[in-house]
Amino acid sequence: MDQLTLITFLPLVGALLVLLTPASQEKALRVIALVTTLVVAVLGVRLYLAFDGASESMQFAVDKDWFVLPSSAIAVHYKLGVDGLSILMVALTAVLMPTVILSTWGHIDKRVKEFMVWMLVMQTGMLGVFLATDLVLFYFFWEVSLIPLYFMVGIWGGERRLYATIKFFLYTMAGSLVMLVAVIALIYAFRTSDVTALLERASTLDAHKQAWLFAGFAIAFAIKVPLIPFHTWLADAHTEAPTSGSVVLAGVLLKMGTYGLLRFGIDMFPGAAIEHAPLFMALGAIGIVYGAFLAMAQTDVKRLVACSSVSHLGYVVLGLFALTRSGLSGSILQMVNHGISTGLLFLLIGMIYERRHTRALDQFGGLASTMPLFAFFFVFTVLSSAALPGLNGFVGEYLILLGAFQTSPLWAILGVLGVIFGAVYLLMATRRMLFGPVTHEENKHLSDLNVREVALMLPLVLLAVWIGVRPTPFLDQSRGSLDRLVRKIETARGAHSAALDPAPASNTEVIR
């Protein structure tokens, strides 16, 4: 079997194994899930290492007949492939999962079997979204990946879990179904569902059509990211989700939105993307600042991190729609960075919640003295999230702001302000949790992190340092694809300005 099919469907096989194991064998269930995700992680790393970043094309491509849509005979293929835009996301999805599974030891103790099944199904869905190079297949995985989180929040979530999960599902479905119409329209416009072929040809559509199709896709992705003003579902979903659910949501699921904007927004319709870039840059930059302010106002530390997600993904969107090389490559890297640092933050908050059963900021204080290891990891993560030079966040945000500045200084400046606000709420939360006197009796006897908890965070911590110190190999992975994309954007920009300003030649005609 080919590599990509194996990596995509191995989690599903693991899910079937879990399904066949009796629910009483909790230990066996956990081990099966962990081993499956570890194998997937190894496969993911192997894929990452074998990937040639200098190449522009889809690599490790798989292409098999799937079905033929009747009456217009459009052949839908089972087609997978990976290129520079998706390789980092695939690797992140593969590597993050063992950590997530290992974290469930601490907080999932009822209905373990179902949880593991959903977790593994979700991984298949997410990998499928990043790997699919057939539009129908992509849409297939896109919707399938919604369902596991719906169950995770709904069954294992906090008090308002039903509200949160239904809101999450309906919000994202509304976007998806609008996208469905756009997907159908795009497929019938060219009578193919092959993404590579569509990427080549979609820009030949007339501008009006492109703008509509772009809007159809962009709404679904903007809700998923989520971009202001579609962000309200995120805070609820994050707050109510169990720790592991939050980690996957922040780490990978939201990236499906930014990845979609990149592949099916910018790459598919460069002309429309250029036209709408100011809007998206504005929404991104406003999201950065607004998210930061929201985060400052939170008293629940998990909600605070959820709001910070809105802010951080604002950077990604700002960088993407700067439509410059550095903006795009910074955004791709920042997707990974956000997965690492926000994932770590959610893990840490989960760990403290398992001990104290509260997430209210004012219930903590002085934890540094009772839980030094926790404090170390927390401070490290906060610094990574606040983009301290030398850690991963810095590289991504720097490139994004650089790219944004080339296109629109105004929004870049707003983005820079966001960096400061980001440091403010993160450090404020750190101070209130970790430092000062221990004000609550319960906090005096908290046990520090155990070996499992440290072990599950270590890979992410190492990755954060690695990307921070030597980002080049990571950035190089998307070089070839970005070369292609930037060329495409330049061509479209030429056409765009020619259309806006048909001036020189004809003007002279008139004057004569």
Binding site: P70, F151, L177, L180
Partner: protein, 483 residues
């Protein structure tokens, strides 16, 4: 009709064309005769299944053969009508399997009558789908409807069931009258009842238009489309659940089959009107379903919404869908998926249902995943398919319906329809929420084991689940035969 035409019946192709009808009728007669002898009681099931299977087999052979028309071209067995025919056989078989062990001790002695009535419905449906003549359609409609009236009120001791039968009968009689009046006006205007002849002459003048309007009204009644959908909730809820399954799947499919055959009568300019009717139907069905606390009633409203969705393909064709068979393929696949999904959902409700109606309420489903995980998982699958989520047949059906609209340039109706299906997810999810995310209601905790299930129903539910998944994941198995 002269005697020569009767002789013509015996030519091989014509015989093959009516073979499914003959098989079903023969089964019906054998069933009635066997019913006379008490000692043959145990043959009831095998006769029922055998005649449906034989009819299905004949239909399947017609599917591959060249079109065969009989009795002066008033009935046609071609690829499309055979595909519909297969659906009718399947729908009847599923409904029958779910009806085993469904009825109470008091009702069991009448099981033979029940089966006879049920076996006569696919005869009517098949006639409706193959009808090329308004009268033949009407005969099919009555062969289908009259047994259904009786079946709807089959649980005579329950006032709800009797009410359902009476309501269905009264309104059905109106619809039948509408149809006859419309057909007579069409005859007056065009001088023929043959669809092909009417198509040649065309619909001109107020008389013909009035006829078309009346015929369409009666069809809209049968498929339960706005503004003729109001009978649905009461009838679906009151009827015995397996009968509801048959009404929701078979009847609707048969009426749609003829609607697609006769939609040429509608003027092209009606495209937006039909689209609006379809969207209003979807909206009313979905909003109505959202307000329900009884799952059976909720599924009734959802059936209305689905009828609206299928009606969209008619709008797509009128607006000029460039693919000649786009509407037919979309409707066939959509209804095919719907037959398995809705029959499965109603069937599982029938399985859960015991005496009293309480068991179909949303409350009673709370915590079902803990008590009966397999049933909960299957019901979840059906809910997701009704909601049109990928990996289920419902998704591709929805895809094909919206494709027809997009090809015809009706982008806005497609987008509104897509958003209306988000509303639908709201209530499908509620069922899932109740089963998986809410604790068992206290009074049900004692029922930890639930009622004993019947093997026939379990097999039928499993078949439904397999087909729903197969249509979603390996649609080529079905689509390759459509093209």
């Amino acid at each position: 009709m002269n005697p020569q035409d009767l002789l013509h019946l015996f030519d091989a192709r014509a015989l093959a064309a009516v073979a499914p009808l003959l098989a079903l009728s023969a089964g019906l007669i054998v069933l009635l005769v066997a019913g006379v002898f008490r000692s043959l009681e145990s043959l009831r099931g095998p006769i029922m299944v055998a005649s449906l299977l034989v009819a299905g087999w004949f239909t399947a052979t017609n599917f591959g053969a060249p079109p065969g028309s009989v009795i002066d071209g008033t009935y046609l067995a071609d690829r499309a009508s055979s595909a519909w025919g297969l659906l009718f056989v399947v729908a009847t078989l599923l409904a029958w399997l779910f009806s085993q062990h469904y009825y109470s001790e008091a009702e069991r002695p009448f099981q033979l009558e029940h089966d006879v009535l049920m076996l006569s419905t696919p005869i009517g449906m098949t006639l409706m789908a193959g009808a090329q003549n308004l009268i033949v359609f009407f005969i099919g409609l009555e062969i289908l409807s009259i047994p259904l009236y009786a079946l709807a009120s089959f649980r005579r001791s329950r006032s709800r069931s009797v009410e359902a039968g009476l309501k269905y009968f009264l309104l059905g009689a109106f619809a039948a009258a509408f149809f006859l009046y419309g057909a007579s006006l069409l005859y007056a205007a065009t001088g023929t009842l043959q669809l092909q002849e009417i198509a040649k002459i065309g619909i001109h003048g107020p008389l013909a238009l009035a006829g078309v309007a009346l015929v369409m009204a009666s069809l809209f009644f049968k498929v339960s489309v706005f503004p003729f959908h109001l009978w649905v909730p009461d009838v679906y809820q009151g009827s015995p659940t397996p009968v509801t399954a048959l009404m929701a799947t078979g009847t609707k499919a048969a009426a749609f089959a003829f609607l697609l055959n006769s939609m040429f009568m509608l003027p092209k300019s009606a495209a937006l009107l039909v689209a609006a009717i379809a969207l209003v139907t979807m909206a009313l069905g979905n909003l109505g379903a959202l307000a329900q606390t009884d799952v059976k009633r909720m599924l009734a409203y959802s059936g209305v919404a689905h009828a609206g969705t299928v009606l969209l393909v008619v709008a797509g064709t009128l607006a000029g869908d460039p693919e000649a068979n786009g509407a037919l393929h979309a409707a066939l696949f959509y209804m095919g998926a719907y037959v398995f999904t809705a029959a499965g959902a109603f069937g599982l409700l029938a399985l859960l249902e015991r005496d009293g109606e309480r068991f179909t309420s949303l409350d009673a489903l709370k915590g079902l995943a803990q008590r009966r995980p397999v049933i909960a998982a299957a019901l979840t699958l059906f809910m997701l398919s009704l909601g049109g989520i990928p990996a289920t047949g419902g998704f591709l059906g929805k895809w094909m319906v919206f494709s027809s609209l997009v090809r015809a340039g009706l982008i806005w109706p497609a987008a509104i329809g897509a958003l209306l299906s988000v509303v639908a997810l709201g209530y499908y999810l509620r069922v899932v929420v109740a089963m998986y995310m809410q604790p068992i209601a206290e009074r049900d905790a004692a029922l930890a084991r639930g009622p004993d299930s019947s093997a026939a129903a379990a097999i039928a539910a499993a078949v439904c689940a397999v087909f729903v998944l197969a249509m979603g994941v390996l649609p080529n198995l079905f689509l390759d035969r459509l093209i």
